[in-house]
């Protein structure tokens, strides 16, 4: 099955559910910090924070969001063309003893998350790290799992999952495309 898998309303519903699950799982949002992995994890982290703020009045969304660039922690730096380094920003209060929720758009091999865990270790010592992802497409190469999943999409390795977001692409959609046999999309590796 290829084509549009999730539309604007589906994405909105999934994010609302995840926001509630985060609050429920952690008995409130008092120690939650959301770190988005650029590029598309970042707007997703902000959307989740805004939704959490709606149910938890004391939660200041803009002070609980950050960006975590993982470029310098990748395990394939010497196998691909040189990558530009993105911004890492952590809330002023830091992440020590917080519950960090990593936010990414597509969860695939797990290598991005492995790199993110290394990056977090250099930023502080959170009480726990959890993972939220809009799409889980399978094909894990490492023993890593997600805590919050918007939608599980069974895929072939050769297929591509494109997440498009209003803030970056001008629309909200998740699209599954037939890929070439060999190439797996590097940005979701």
């Amino acid at each position: 099955m290829t084509g549009t898998i999730m539309g604007e309303a589906d994405i909105a519903r999934a994010l609302t559910r995840i926001a509630h699950e985060i609050v429920e799982r952690n008995d409130g949002a008092a120690s939650i910090v959301l770190l988005g992995i650029p590029t598309r994890g970042l707007p997703l982290a902000h959307r989740l924070a805004a939704r959490i703020a709606q149910v938890e009045p004391g939660f200041e969304a803009e002070h609980r969001c950050g960006a975590l660039d993982i470029t310098m922690y990748r395990d394939d730096l010497f196998k691909n063309p040189t990558r530009a380094i993105g911004v890492t920003s952590v809330p002023a209060a830091g992440i020590d003893d917080a519950v960090v929720v990593l936010v990414d758009d597509v969860f695939h091999t797990g290598r991005t998350i492995r790199a993110a865990l290394d990056a977090i270790r250099d930023l502080g010592r959170p009480a726990a790290v959890q993972l939220a992802t809009l799409v889980d497409r399978g094909h894990r190469e490492l023993p890593i799992r997600a805590d919050y999943v918007g939608k599980n999409i069974p895929t072939a390795r050769s297929e591509r999952v494109d997440v498009r977001l209003e803030e970056i692409d001008g629309e909200d959609a998740v699209i599954l495309r037939k890929g070439s046999e060999h190439a797996s999309p590097p940005e979701h590796a």
Partner: protein, 317 residues
């Protein structure tokens, strides 16, 4: 980019990529853990044929913060003092598996020869060759100017800024590197030097030339004032200026001259300083002085250069 040899080879896009990457590197240096795993398993050789403290330490710190292994090689006390040629030294480093060689040499063109001699497989970073080029110094100067003088630095160039470079231009690879880089980034460069300290053949350089500091301060609105070190070790035989006192009177930066800069104007010096000769203690220690910050930015810029040269596919441009 495979080598970093001269600021003349850098396009505007290359230069801005280097400065932006340096910005991200500088941000990592404010963390509790400043070490990154990025260049784990790579070997960087510091090959220094000429004395240097800050550049060598700066490159060493940059490589170590990126988890590369660093081998320091100085000509003193090595087989070079027994007469080994640059080629044989390079072949030795190649055999040891150097991924990058940072070279400082007293001969202009040594870095180019090392990069293009076919002796080495790795990248070459020029850390100063004779009176030719010192590209990472110019990049850290541009980075410092952009931070202080451009309101939204990331992705920006230095268009509209005026930078005066004062003093011993003749012997200065810092001045040569800066003239070309600052021009590429859109800044206006004014060189200030006595005729005896201006190199022959300066006409095609993309800059203007005046002969006293007072004239420069009167005729230009200077955003950044860069004082060069008087390189007395390269002036054996003398005759470049009548006396240190006269040099200081015409080209030295004191409190009075500093007060004639615009309010936002910054004072820079590549170090090491001759306090009391080209710059007074008052100017060097004033709130306009960004000299200490230049050193800190040097590490970030060299991290960026090492990252951009060493990360990425083997053989990819």
């Amino acid at each position: 980019m495979r080598h970093l040899l001269s600021t003349r080879d850098l396009s505007r896009e290359d230069a801005i990529t280097l400065l932006d990457t340096a910005g991200q590197m500088a941000a990592t240096q404010e963390r509790e853990v400043r070490k990154l795993p990025t260049l784990r398993g790579k070997t960087v050789v510091n090959l220094f044929f000429e004395d240097s403290t800050r550049t060598r330490i700066s490159f060493e710190a940059a490589a170590k913060r990126l988890s590369a292994d660093v081998i320091n090689f100085s000509a003193k006390g090595s087989s070079v003092s027994k007469g080994e040629s640059l080629k044989d030294t390079a072949l030795t480093l190649q055999a040891m598996g150097a991924d990058a060689v940072v070279v400082r040499h007293w001969a202009s063109g040594a870095a180019y020869q090392l990069a293009h001699g076919g002796w080495l497989h790795g990248s070459v970073l020029n850390a100063g060759d004779g009176t030719h080029q010192h590209p990472t110094q110019a990049l850290l100067d541009a980075f410092t100017m952009r931070r202080h003088l451009v309101s939204d630095p990331t992705g920006a160039d230095l268009a509209g800024l005026t930078v005066a470079i004062v003093g011993d231009v003749l012997h200065s690879r810092v001045a040569r590197s800066n003239v070309y880089l600052l021009h590429t980034l859109g800044a206006r460069v004014v060189l200030v030097a006595p005729p005896t300290l201006v190199p022959v053949g300066i006409e095609p350089w993309p800059c203007t030339l005046v002969h006293t500091l007072d004239e420069a301060l009167e005729t230009h609105e200077i955003d950044a004032l860069m004082m060069l070190r008087v390189q007395r070790e390269r002036m054996t035989g003398g005759g470049f200026f009548p006396s240190p006192g006269e040099y200081t009177r015409l080209y030295g930066l004191d409190a009075d001259r500093m007060s004639r800069l615009p309010d936002h104007g910054i004072v820079m010096h590549p170090g090491p300083m001759n306090r009391g000769l080209e710059i007074s203690a008052e100017a060097a220690d004033s709130s306009r002085s960004v000299i200490v910050e230049q050193v800190a930015n040097g590490v970030a810029v060299r991290m960026a250069a090492l990252y951009l040269l060493l990360a990425g596919e083997e053989g990819a441009s």
